[in-house]
C-alpha cells in the first residue's frame, strides 16, 4: 500500500506510466488550465472589442485616399522636441518628399505635429449602428499614418482594423455555420444510425475531399461578374461553411454514439423519455465540449481561409479591406522589397491566432484534466 498523495511514478520509477495522477497534481493542472482559459478568453474579448470598435480606434475611414501621401512610412513618435524640451503630448514630424523621387520621404523637422486624443474626425457607425465622430486619436493638423500608408495613401492602421472586421466576422460566421451543420448531421447520424448514418457519413467524406478552392472558382463562374462586397462576403462564408462541416460532424457522431449507450441514457429511455428529451437533456450536452474546442480551432482556420481567398482576389473586392486583400499587395516584388510596413497585416493576425489556439488547448485540457503527464522512467539500465 502506498501512502495517499504520493504518485506511483514517484514511488517507483519503473512502475508503468499509466498510473492515475495524484490529487495535488490534478488540481494544479486544473488551476493552470483554468488560468490559461481565463487569460485567453479575456485577451480574445479585448482583441475582438478593438476590432468591433474599429471606427473609434481607427483615425480615418479605410477607403479615404490621400493621393499625395502614397507609401508614407510610419512616423516616429517623440516626446522631446528639437530644442530638448519635454512635451506632454507625443508628437511626430510630418514627411516631405525627398527630391523628385517617388515614395522617398524625409521628416520635416520644422513642423512638429501633436497627437490628439479623443478627437472629432470622419463619421462612422459604432457596431454598425450608432453614428459617431469621436476617434481615439488623430493629428493636430494633417493626417497621421501610425502604421504607414498604402499605394493610394490610405491609412494602413485603419485598414487593418476595418479589415479585421471582415476577416474575423467571416471566421466566426463560417465556424458557426460549420458547427451548426456539423452538429445536426453528426447527431442525426450518430443517434439514429442505420442508413441515415451511412448516407450522411459518406456525404461527409465526399465534402471532406472536395478541393474547396476549385469549388469556389466554379461557384464564382455561376454568379454575375461583378459582385458587391456584401455578396462576395456571404459567398466566402457560404463556401467555408459548406466545405468545413464534415470534420465536426464526424466528431459529434462519435460522441453521440458513445453517449447514447451510456447507462443513464438507457435508463432514461427505459423510463419512456422521448428522442427530443434525450438529445436535449443528455446527449447534446455531452458534445458541447467537443464543439467548443472545435470552434476555437475552426475560427482561426476560417480566418485564414478568408485571407487566402481575398489574397487570391476571390474575397471581398477593393476598396473594402480585409486582411487577405491587404496582404495581396505583397504579391508585387517592388512592394515586398521597398515598403516594410505593408507586412504589418500579417502581424495583426498573430495575437488572434495565439489567443484562439491557446483557448483550444485550454478547453481540451479542461475536458481531460487526468491526462497522462510525461514521467521520467529513470536511467536505463
Amino acid at each position: 500500500m502506498r501512502p495517499p498523495g504520493v504518485s506511483q511514478s514517484a514511488a517507483d520509477p519503473r512502475a508503468p506510466s499509466t498510473a492515475p495522477l495524484s490529487h495535488l497534481d490534478a488540481t494544479l493542472i486544473k488551476n493552470r488550465g483554468g488560468l490559461q482559459l481565463s487569460f485567453c478568453v479575456v485577451a480574445l474579448a479585448l482583441l475582438h472589442g478593438v476590432i468591433a470598435c474599429a471606427g473609434f480606434f481607427a483615425p480615418y475611414s479605410p477607403e479615404t485616399q490621400d493621393r499625395d501621401s502614397a507609401y508614407l512610412p510610419p512616423p516616429r513618435l517623440h516626446l522631446v522636441d528639437a530644442q530638448g524640451h519635454l512635451r506632454l503630448r507625443p508628437f511626430f514630424y510630418g514627411y516631405q518628399a525627398r527630391g523628385d523621387s517617388f515614395g522617398e520621404w524625409q521628416e520635416d523637422r520644422t513642423k512638429p505635429v501633436s497627437l490628439q486624443f479623443f478627437t472629432s474626425g470622419p463619421r462612422y457607425h459604432l457596431f454598425g449602428l450608432v453614428p459617431c465622430r469621436v476617434h481615439l486619436f488623430g493629428a493636430e493638423s494633417g493626417r497621421i499614418y501610425l502604421l504607414g500608408s498604402d499605394a493610394f495613401g490610405r491609412d494602413q492602421l485603419s485598414r487593418i482594423l476595418y479589415g479585421g472586421q471582415i476577416s474575423l466576422l467571416a471566421g466566426l460566421l463560417g465556424a458557426s455555420l460549420t458547427l451548426l451543420v456539423g452538429a445536426c448531421v453528426g447527431t442525426t447520424a450518430g443517434y439514429y444510425g442505420g442508413w441515415r448514418d451511412a448516407v450522411l457519413m459518406r456525404l461527409a467524406e465526399l465534402f471532406a475531399v472536395l478541393p474547396w478552392l476549385y469549388l469556389l472558382l466554379g461557384l464564382r463562374a455561376f454568379l454575375p461578374l461583378a459582385v458587391s462586397p456584401l455578396e462576395a462576403f456571404l459567398l466566402v462564408i457560404l463556401v467555408i461553411g459548406a466545405v468545413g462541416w464534415a470534420r465536426p460532424a464526424r466528431l459529434v457522431r462519435g460522441m453521440v454514439l458513445s453517449a447514447r449507450e451510456r447507462d443513464f441514457v438507457r435508463a432514461a429511455r427505459g423510463f419512456g423519455a422521448s428522442d427530443g428529451y434525450l438529445l436535449r437533456r443528455h446527449i447534446l450536452p455531452a458534445t458541447s465540449n467537443v464543439l467548443l474546442t472545435q470552434a476555437a480551432i475552426l475560427v482561426p482556420q476560417f480566418v485564414l481561409a478568408e485571407m487566402t481567398l481575398s489574397f487570391l482576389g476571390l474575397g471581398v473586392p477593393e476598396p473594402v479591406p480585409s486582411w487577405g486583400n491587404l496582404l495581396a499587395n505583397l504579391q508585387q516584388y517592388s512592394v515586398l522589397a521597398s515598403y516594410w510596413w505593408m507586412y504589418l497585416p500579417a502581424l495583426a493576425i498573430v495575437p488572434f491566432f495565439l489567443g484562439y489556439l491557446g483557448l483550444a488547448s485550454a478547453l481540451q485540457e479542461r475536458d481531460n484534466p487526468y491526462k497522462i503527464p510525461e514521467v521520467s522512467l529513470g536511467r536505463p539500465e
Binding site: 477607403e63 493621393r67 517617388f102 499605394a151 461578374l225 476598396p319 508585387q332
Partner: protein, 600 residues
C-alpha cells in the same frame, strides 16, 4: 576584380567558341553554298565601334510559339524574330522613327505614288550561306499575300480592297505596284521579313508552311537575314541564337556586325522573376519594366544602368460598352447603355478622372497623362493643340445635370447619382488581373467617380476571358484596357479607329458606322491612308484625335514610359520607345573591355 575575372572568362569562352562557330559555318556552307563573284554591298553603320565576342542573356516573358515570321502573332515570337533573326527591305529606325535603307539599298517612288522600285544590296547571303536575290523577295510577298497562309501582316498589303502586286525587274530590282497611294509610303516594308525561297518553297507549295520553322526545327534547316541565327532550343528553358557570319552590316571600321557571339533568351514567365534574375546577374539586360520595379532597381544600382526612354506608344483607356446588343445579353447591361451612349456622361467621367494621380501613383511619375490616343512618345503625330482640361468635379457635375442625372440628395458622403428614371448609377469596370497597373488605375477611377455619386466596382479578370467578354460575348459594362501601336504612324491603328475594325473596342466590326462621328473618323482615316504628304496627313489625323477627344468613346488615361536596364558593361545600350525596345540595335550591342569601362 571579380568582374575582371568574369570578363576574362567570357573572353576565353568566346575564343573557345569562335573557332567552333567558324567550323560550323563552314560545315553548314560546305553542303550547298555556291560561290558568287558579286561583291557584297554591306551597310556601314556610322558611329562608335565596339568589340566582338561574348554572350548576352535576356529574359522573355513567354516561350515564343514559332520561329516562322509569317505566322508569328505572339509578342515573344515577334520580339525574337523581328528583333534578332530577320531583316526587312526598308527599316524604321527605332530611335529616329524614320525609315532607312536595309536589304534595299535605295528606292524610287513614281510621281503618282503608286510604284515603288527597290534596289537590293548585291552579294548578300542568308545565314546558311545561300545568296539572296529578287526571287526571294517575290517569293516572300507571294507568301504574305496568300490568303491560305493567314499571315497577320497580309492586311497591310491590301489597299482599298486590292492587293499590292510585286514584279522583278532584274536580279536586284523589285517593283511594287500599289492599287492606290499609301500615305505612310515606304514604312509599309518594315516588318516584312525576306524569306529563304530555297528552304520554304517546298513546304509552301505543299501547304505545310504553318507547320514549318517551329521551335524544334534543327538549326541547319533555318535561315534568315537578321544578325543572329538559330543555334539551340531547350524547351521550357531557353532559346540560344548565334552570330550570323553573313550579316549585311558593318561598323565604321569595316568589322562585320553583330559584335556579340551569342544571344540567349531565358523563358521567365513572371515580371517580378525577371527583375530578380536581372538583379542576381543571371540576365544582362531587361526591358518592359514596370515603374515600381524600375524604382527598386534604380535605387539599388548594383553595377547596372537603368534607362528611361520616355513615353512609349502604349495608351491606356477606359471605355464603355456601346455595342448594339442582342437579346442574349442581360437586360441590365442594355439598360445601362442608355447612360453610356450619352456623350455628356462620358465627358463627365473623363472630367472627373484625376490623370495626374494615375501618372504619379501608378507610374511613380514615369508616365504621361493622356487626353488623346497619340502619346507624347509619338513625336510626329501627337496633336499638340488638343485641350488638356484639368480635373474638374464641378464641370463633371454640370455635364451630368445637363444629361438628366441628379443626386439622390442624402448626406453629402452618401449621396448617390441617379438617372432620369431614378435608377442609381452603378457599373463595373473589367480589367486584366495580370496587370497590377491597370487594376490600380481602375481603383483610382472608382474613387474619383464615387465623388460624383457613381458606384463603381472593379473586376479583375484573367486576360483571355476579358478579351472574350469584350470582343465576343460583349457581356460587360465598362473596361480598362491598354493598346500599344507597333509603329509611330496612324496606319498602325487603322484597326482601332475604323468602325469595321476588330479592335474598335467599344463597338467592334460594325457593318456600317453606328454614329455620324464614327463615319467621319472612317472617312478621315481612309483619307490619310491615301494622302502622301506628311503635312496633309497630320492635319487629317489631328482632326481624328479631336473627334475622339470630343466624343470620348475611349477615355484616355495615361501612357507609361519605356523603362529598361542593362549591365554597365553592355555597350551601345540605347533603349527606344518602339518595339523591340532594347533589341532594335542588337547588332551593335557589345561587351565593353575593362579599360573602356574604367574610362567611362
Amino acid at each position: 576584380m571579380k568582374r575582371q575575372s568574369v570578363f576574362l572568362l567570357l573572353s576565353c569562352l568566346s575564343l573557345a567558341i569562335l573557332p567552333a562557330t567558324y567550323q560550323r559555318a563552314e560545315a553548314r556552307s560546305s553542303t550547298v553554298p555556291p560561290q558568287t563573284t558579286v561583291a557584297e554591298e554591306l551597310l556601314t553603320v556610322p558611329g562608335q565601334t565596339g568589340q566582338g565576342g561574348g554572350r548576352l542573356v535576356l529574359s522573355l516573358r513567354a516561350e515564343p510559339k514559332t520561329l516562322n515570321p509569317v505566322t508569328a502573332t505572339d509578342a515573344s515570337s515577334r520580339e525574337v524574330i523581328l528583333g534578332a533573326m530577320q531583316a526587312d527591305l526598308v527599316h524604321i529606325n527605332r530611335a529616329t522613327q524614320l525609315t532607312e535603307p536595309a536589304l534595299a539599298k535605295s528606292w524610287r517612288v513614281s510621281a503618282d505614288h503608286l510604284q515603288y522600285t527597290l534596289i537590293l544590296r548585291k552579294g548578300l547571303r542568308f545565314s546558311d550561306g545561300q545568296p539572296v536575290d529578287a526571287d526571294d523577295v517575290l517569293f516572300s510577298f507571294r507568301v504574305y499575300l496568300d490568303e491560305n497562309v493567314h499571315a497577320p501582316q497580309r492586311d497591310l498589303l491590301i489597299l482599298g480592297g486590292k492587293p499590292i502586286t510585286v514584279r522583278k525587274e532584274n536580279a536586284w530590282t523589285v517593283v511594287f505596284q500599289l492599287p492606290q497611294p499609301y500615305g505612310a509610303g515606304e514604312r509599309l516594308f518594315d516588318g516584312f521579313a525576306i524569306l529563304p525561297r530555297h528552304l520554304l518553297e517546298k513546304p509552301y507549295t505543299e501547304g505545310k508552311l504553318a507547320q514549318t520553322w517551329t521551335l524544334a526545327t534543327p538549326a541547319k534547316e533555318w535561315a534568315g537575314l537578321g544578325p543572329f541565327r538559330l543555334k539551340e532550343y531547350v524547351p521550357g528553358q531557353r532559346l540560344v541564337l548565334e552570330r550570323n557570319p553573313y550579316y549585311w552590316k558593318q561598323d565604321a571600321k569595316g568589322n562585320r556586325l553583330p559584335y556579340l557571339e551569342e544571344l540567349d533568351f531565358l523563358f521567365v514567365p513572371n515580371a517580378d522573376a525577371q527583375v530578380l534574375r536581372f538583379q542576381s546577374g543571371e540576365t544582362d539586360a531587361i526591358s518592359r519594366l514596370g515603374a515600381e520595379n524600375f524604382a527598386v532597381l534604380a535605387r539599388q544600382q548594383r553595377g547596372y544602368t537603368m534607362a528611361d526612354a520616355g513615353p512609349g506608344l502604349e495608351y491606356n483607356f477606359l471605355f464603355f460598352n456601346l455595342n448594339d446588343l442582342g437579346e442574349q445579353v442581360p437586360p441590365e447591361i442594355r439598360r445601362k447603355q442608355k447612360w453610356f451612349r450619352e456623350v455628356k456622361f462620358r465627358q463627365a467621367v473623363s472630367a472627373a478622372i484625376d490623370r495626374d494621380a494615375i501618372v504619379r501613383l501608378v507610374y511613380q511619375g514615369r508616365g504621361a497623362a493622356l487626353w488623346g490616343p497619340v502619346t507624347p512618345g509619338d513625336r510626329r503625330w501627337v496633336d499638340a493643340s488638343l485641350p488638356h482640361p484639368q480635373r474638374s468635379l464641378e464641370r463633371a457635375r454640370q455635364l451630368l445635370k445637363e444629361a438628366g442625372f441628379s443626386s439622390s440628395g442624402k448626406a453629402e458622403d452618401d449621396a448617390a447619382l441617379v438617372d432620369s428614371e431614378g435608377q442609381p448609377v452603378e457599373f463595373s469596370i473589367l480589367t486584366s488581373s495580370s496587370s497590377a497597373e491597370r487594376t490600380k488605375m481602375a481603383t483610382l477611377i472608382q474613387d474619383d467617380l464615387k465623388q460624383l455619386g457613381m458606384r463603381v466596382q472593379v473586376t479583375p479578370l484573367e486576360f483571355r476571358s476579358l478579351i472574350d467578354r469584350v470582343t465576343q460575348t460583349k457581356e460587360y459594362e465598362a473596361s480598362l484596357f491598354g493598346l500599344a501601336s507597333f509603329d509611330a504612324d496612324p496606319n498602325s491603328d487603322m484597326n482601332v479607329w475604323l468602325s469595321s475594325g476588330g479592335t474598335h473596342l467599344w463597338n467592334p466590326s460594325q457593318a456600317h458606322p453606328q454614329t455620324a462621328w464614327e463615319a467621319e473618323i472612317d472617312r478621315l482615316m481612309e483619307e490619310q491612308l491615301e494622302t502622301s504628304s506628311y503635312e496633309q496627313r497630320k492635319k487629317v489625323y489631328d482632326r481624328v484625335q479631336e473627334i475622339l477627344a470630343e466624343n470620348q468613346p475611349m477615355i484616355f488615361l495615361a501612357s507609361p514610359h519605356i523603362l529598361a536596364g542593362a549591365k554597365n558593361s553592355v555597350g551601345h545600350f540605347r533603349p527606344a520607345v518602339l518595339e523591340p525596345y532594347i533589341l532594335w540595335n542588337v547588332e551593335q550591342l557589345y561587351w565593353r573591355s575593362g579599360t573602356e569601362r574604367a574610362a567611362q
